[in-house]
């Protein structure tokens, strides 16, 4: 029982919440009764074809179901390369695999900072083969030597629409304003996730374009002001949406993709995009993967315009290929963090700053939370 490890806990927690959010009878977007009509892809360049297999590790749950439909199935059909996908993607497992020479994953879904953190410790990932990738349509922001972003998401403010009469909180100063917006809150803590010092700084009046390098002292001084109203510092994305559903809190920081499920279940809650953080997941290839060539072909395929658009239709996470927008409706673009009208309200998360400072912030955080 206690041997249930924390990773499976995070996955299971996500599953349990998805089940709870579905109480209202409506299912999450990814499993909706009438699946959206997805754009089909009928042929791929010969350089992406091959044989054998590629083993892909994702985060499991509804997101991986969407990836299977959007990427894995068409890739297998068109390339002749068999895809085997498993849940449980984890940075520490990659480290252990490379350290012991027992590579079980050819492609792994991670955050950019995870990849950078591990590259600081040694040569743990293969270089991405950009010869194969649709670089003309992928923003340089999304490209990195050892990883290619493939999913754009946002850490944003969400609120109960029935909590403040007609007032709408916009920006983190409003989140911090407990007089204008009374009620309990939940924010990200330190664990597998990092606390959002950016939000604390914007609440204290630092302009979005002058955030980095983050002023750690100022951020914690700002946190002091909200500490009493934060009933939970969460460490898995299932928790804040659950708390919004159960009316435990009126304001929360959430992963945008989680909101669709509770909104579909009829919970009166909405996203306030202003000053959210633009974050990304990426594909990376563990060093010495036996199917490295296939891995590179898969990565190139999944970041093409049509597969990216297919994913965004199945689950409200954004695309990295600029051409994907052509396949999406106005309505669909209205909930995607990579849609131009929303992207302009968000602040790109600075992975480099966090890679260099995470240790210090977590140390400070632990002392602060226990004080």
């Amino acid at each position: 029982m206690t041997s249930l490890d924390r990773r499976s806990f995070v996955g299971l927690a996500a599953w349990a919440t998805a089940g709870m959010a579905a109480r209202g009878g409506t299912r999450a977007l990814a499993q909706s009764a009438s699946p959206p009509k997805l754009p089909e892809i009928t042929s791929i360049p010969d350089k992406l074809k091959g044989s054998g297999a590629v083993r892909i590790a994702g985060y499991g749950g509804t997101a991986q179901d969407a990836e299977r439909t959007a990427y894995f199935q068409p890739f297998e059909k068109l390339s002749g390369i068999k895809t085997i996908d498993v849940p449980g993607a984890d940075l520490n497992k990659v480290k252990a695999m490379v350290d012991t020479g027992n590579i079980e994953w050819d492609v792994v879904q991670l955050g950019r900072s995870s990849v950078k953190n591990l590259m600081k410790k040694g040569d743990y990932f293969e270089k991405i083969d950009y010869e194969l990738v649709d670089v003309d349509n992928i923003d340089p922001l999304y490209r990195y030597d050892y990883a290619l972003d493939m999913l754009v998401w946002s850490e944003v403010m969400a609120y109960r629409t029935d909590a403040f009469k007609s007032a709408v909180p916009v920006g983190w100063a409003d989140f911090w304003d407990t007089r204008k917006f009374p009620g309990d809150r939940t924010l990200t803590g330190a664990g597998p996730v990092t606390p959002e010092l950016e939000f604390a700084l914007m609440a204290a009046g630092v302009p979005a374009d002058k955030l980095y390098p983050l002023d750690i002292d100022k951020a914690f001084a700002s946190y002091d002001k909200i500490k009493a109203s934060v009933v939970k510092w969460w460490e898995t994305g299932a928790v804040p949406v659950q708390m919004l559903s159960d009316r435990e809190v009126v304001l929360a920081s959430v992963w945008n993709g989680r909101m669709a499920a509770i909104q579909a279940a009829g919970v009166p809650a909405a996203i306030s995009w202003q000053q959210g953080l633009l974050k990304r997941d990426c594909w990376a290839v563990p060093k010495n993967s036996p199917n490295k060539a296939n891995a590179m072909k898969f990565i190139a395929f999944s970041t093409m315009a049509v597969p990216q658009a297919r994913l965004s239709m199945l689950i409200p996470y954004g695309f990295v290929n600029g051409k994907s927008a052509e396949y999406l409706s106005e309505h669909q673009l209205g909930i995607l963090p990579s849609a131009p009208a929303i992207k302009s309200q968000l602040v790109p998360y600075n992975y480099d700053w966090w890679v260099d400072n995470r240790d210090v912030v977590v140390g400070r955080w632990n002392k602060w939370i226990l004080a």
Binding site: M1, T2, L4, R6, F9, L12, A13, A16, M20, L91, N92, K95, N117, L118, K121, G189, A190, G191, P192, K227, V230, V231, K232, W233, E235, V239, Q242, D246, R247, E248, R358, D359, V362, G363, N366, K367, I369, L370
Partner: protein, 277 residues
């Protein structure tokens, strides 16, 4: 002389298993805490001055203590009832005790979130009964951690105690009563002392399991309800594996120390002697 060889042969499979899957990993963890990347005791020196580690250790110990006491107080009467009921009724009670045992910890922790929430069952009941005017903060507090952990760990306390109570020779109770002891006296002077082995086993099981809890405190706990397991996970995520190993060794040492201390108690020593004879 098969009688001398056989007992040793019997434990060979388990010994090999424990060596490969327990002793080796623990040894490699120990090694990592002092030899990664080179020989050093720096991690342990850091540990001694780490105010966060000390505060979290204290919280972990206190939580384990409260949970152990709670399960003992709630579990002993149930175990007693279980040992006195007729066969059919006992089976029903046993099934009720075991039912939560077969449900995942995660599901049970989520169930507590539903029960203890602002709009949860308990608050709604109290509100509609007019006992409170506004919902109580029950979820995301140390109280929630204690309540949920006690619920999850209760079977570990009840089962060993009940099994010991069942084995008590009924003739002893009749003899005591026949010699004029009141029911209360029969309990305090015959039943209670004879049940100590079960109580000790229950306490050890619950305490040691509590020390390693992660999921339940993370889900229902408040901002300050940090457990050592969370601190370890945090360091693993930061890729500070040597320090994480060092924290794990500290947790292991704490557990062993506790067992060692418990072994020194006279009642426990009697139990251990009886078990080895």
């Amino acid at each position: 002389m098969p009688s001398r060889v056989t007992p040793i042969l019997l434990v060979v499979p388990l010994t090999l298993y424990m060596l490969a899957f327990y002793a080796l990993p623990v040894a490699s963890m120990l090694l990592r805490s002092i030899a990664d990347p080179s020989w050093t005791v720096e991690n342990y020196l850091r540990l001694a001055h780490d105010s966060v580690f000390l505060a979290v250790s204290w919280n972990t110990l206190r939580t384990a203590l409260v949970v152990t006491l709670g399960t003992l107080l709630l579990g002993y009467p149930v175990a007693l009832a279980l040992s006195r009921l007729r066969h059919g009724a006992a089976a029903v009670v046993l099934a009720i005790v075991l039912l939560p045992f077969w449900t995942s910890v995660l599901v049970r922790s989520y169930a507590w979130m539903v029960l203890l929430g602002r709009r949860g069952l308990i608050n709604e009941l109290l509100l509609s009964a007019g006992l409170i005017d506004s919902p109580l903060r029950l979820l995301n507090t140390p109280l929630a951690v204690h309540v949920a952990m006690i619920h999850i760990l209760l079977p570990y306390m009840i089962l060993p105690i009940a099994s010991v109570l069942r084995q008590i020779d009924r003739a002893l109770l009749r003899a005591a009563a026949g010699l004029g002891a009141s029911p209360r006296r029969v309990f305090s002077q015959v039943v209670l002392p004879l049940s100590v082995p079960g109580v000790v086993a229950g306490i050890l099981l619950v305490f040691v399991l509590s020390l390693g809890f992660y999921i339940t405190p993370a889900l229902v706990g408040g901002p300050r309800d940090l457990m050592l397991s969370m601190l370890i996970a945090q360091q693993v995520d930061l890729l500070n594996w040597p320090y994480a190993a060092c924290l794990s060794v500290a947790l292991l040492a704490m557990t062993l120390l506790l067992i060692l201390v418990l072994q020194r108690l006279p009642a426990v020593r009697a139990v251990l002697r009886a078990a080895t004879q």
